[in-house]
């Protein structure tokens, strides 16, 4: 059987969970790119190239960083803002970077406003509406991130990056693990370093 790769979709209506297809999580100081375990710096470079070449590179901050509930969350919020500024400064003129919150996980009725937020129960609406072709999840609880990443892979062609504070996400196209404010700043550094080369 051909090894499974976690590629951007649209894959199918109900894509399999990547873990069930043999994709494993990276160890500390590693990441994965489309399911392939790589050194973390290699993943940083690839993620930076993806963002720099995207038309609508987007960061989706989740409740763990949107709400200032402890000192670490506050520092991460500052680092994410720094990363967003770095992306805006570094992308080409045609690109339109976005910062869209995933404020909480409640299914919202009758529907969300895809211009101002993303909801894990139907993330594809926000991605379709804004024509997002590369995104990064940060500060989203793991179970909700897994759900949303799978839906995005199933129904859109968006490249997904997970900046995970825990062990990473198999269902993202590219994942980091053990995210800290410093790691987010390092990623911003890669964006600045590769500015103009993509």
């Amino acid at each position: 059987m051909k090894p499974y790769r976690v590629l951007p979709g649209p894959e199918e209506f109900l894509p399999p969970s990547a873990a069930s297809m043999g994709i494993r999580l990276p160890d500390p100081d590693q990441g994965h790119i489309e399911g392939r375990i790589v050194p973390e710096e290699e993943a940083m470079e690839r993620a930076a190239r993806v963002f720099l070449s995207a038309n609508v590179p987007t960061i989706f901050p989740g409740p763990l960083v949107l709400w200032s509930w402890n000192e670490k969350a506050a520092k991460k919020a500052t680092a994410i803002q720094y990363l967003y500024d770095a992306i805006r400064e570094s992308v080409s003129k045609r690109a339109k970077p976005m910062l869209i919150p995933m404020a909480d996980y409640r299914p919202k009725y009758p529907k969300i406003n895809p211009e101002v937020e993303i909801n894990p129960n139907h993330p594809n609406l926000t991605i379709w509406h804004n024509k997002i072709d590369a995104c990064m999840f940060v500060g989203v609880h793991c179970h909700q991130a897994n759900l949303a990443l799978k839906i995005i892979r199933g129904g859109t062609d968006c490249f997904t990056i997970a900046m995970c504070a825990q062990a990473g996400h198999e269902d993202a196209n590219l994942t980091f693990r053990d995210a800290t404010p410093e790691k987010i700043m390092n990623f911003a550094g890669w964006i600045k370093k590769l500015k103009g080369t993509v």
Partner: protein, 302 residues
């Protein structure tokens, strides 16, 4: 949870959807005098609900949520039914239990909160329909009262299984014919308020939600008594207008018609001697606090 945690990171304040900013800026967290009069004037703890137009349950939700004395440190436990359609929109911590398990879950939750946060007041409020409270979950309901668990149980009594099309429930009145109970109820409505009293509840009220001031008073009493003494029970009539053939505007009148003296939802209250003492004590302190606040206001405006 502390009120200090309900703060948006300054970096993201401008991108947060407005309803979250309103929740932080205009909700009544930590306000001592919060009550039903805040409805419509402050940010409510319930967003657009998904109940039917005119559903009395939506009124009940609004009044109860606006009356909780300590919403930032309250966890609500719900169960299957129309109420479970609303909880996703409620800005108070809540847990959805399996059908009928709500009082068992609340028991464990209350105990673990007391153990984990011994120096903080943490309230637990069960809110479930009559099917969960009286039929499927009766065992758990009663056992929690027998064990004197310190939380409030609120039953939204619509006298049938509304969410699934109108089956007979234990709280349905005798003789009532529902869409999926065509023979009509053969037995009397279960007298759960009396059972609650005999099972050890210290504060028991049966009423409708036609009078918001009354709802506020009984919710606050029930939470305070549960916090200090033992289990409390509120049974509130929230008629399902669809299942009894009423229009959207007729829910309030239906409740008023059902609470007249001698009818099944005439106001009934039982208060244990300890609870009575506590309620009197709280009322006295409250009166003193308001008098002091009034005097301070008069002094500042003079």
């Amino acid at each position: 949870m502390s009120k200090e945690r309900i703060k948006i990171a300054p970096e993201f304040r401008n991108i947060m959807p407005p309803e979250y900013r309103d929740l932080v800026d205009d909700a009544t967290w930590g306000k001592v005098d919060r009550g039903w009069k805040d409805v419509g004037a402050s940010k409510e703890l319930i967003e657009e609900h998904s109940l039917c137009a005119g559903c009395p349950e939506s009124m009940a939700f609004r009044y109860i949520l606006s009356s909780l004395p300590n919403p930032e440190d309250t966890v609500m436990v719900g169960s299957t039914g129309c109420t479970s359609l609303v909880f996703p929109h409620v800005a108070v911590h809540n847990i959805h239990s399996l059908f009928g398990n709500q009082n068992a879950i609340a028991s464990g939750l209350k105990r673990s909160l007391a153990s984990r946060f011994p120096d903080q007041v943490k309230d637990v409020v069960v809110l479930a329909g009559d099917g969960a409270t009286v039929d499927i979950g009766l065992d758990y309901t009663l056992q929690s009262w027998f064990r004197q668990e310190k939380f409030t149980t609120i039953c939204f009594d619509n006298e049938l299984y509304a969410n699934t099309g109108g089956q007979e429930s234990g709280l349905m009145q005798k003789g009532f014919v529902a869409k999926m109970a065509p023979v009509g109820k053969q037995f009397e409505k279960v007298r759960l308020p009396e059972i609650a009293r005999e099972s050890g509840c210290h504060y028991v009220v049966s009423c409708t939600v036609s009078k918001p001031s009354l709802v506020e008073k009984v919710v606050k009493n029930a939470v305070y008594v549960a916090r200090e003494i033992g289990p409390t029970y509120l049974q509130v009539y929230t008629p399902c207008i669809l299942e009894i053939g009423k229009q959207s505007m007729e829910g309030l009148q239906e409740m008023r018609d059902s609470e007249k003296p001698g009818l099944r939802f005439a106001y009934k209250e039982y208060v244990s001697p300890e609870a009575k003492e506590l309620i009197t004590e709280i009322a006295t302190k409250e009166k003193e606090r308001k008098a002091v606040a009034k005097a301070a206001l008069a002094q500042s405006s003079a």
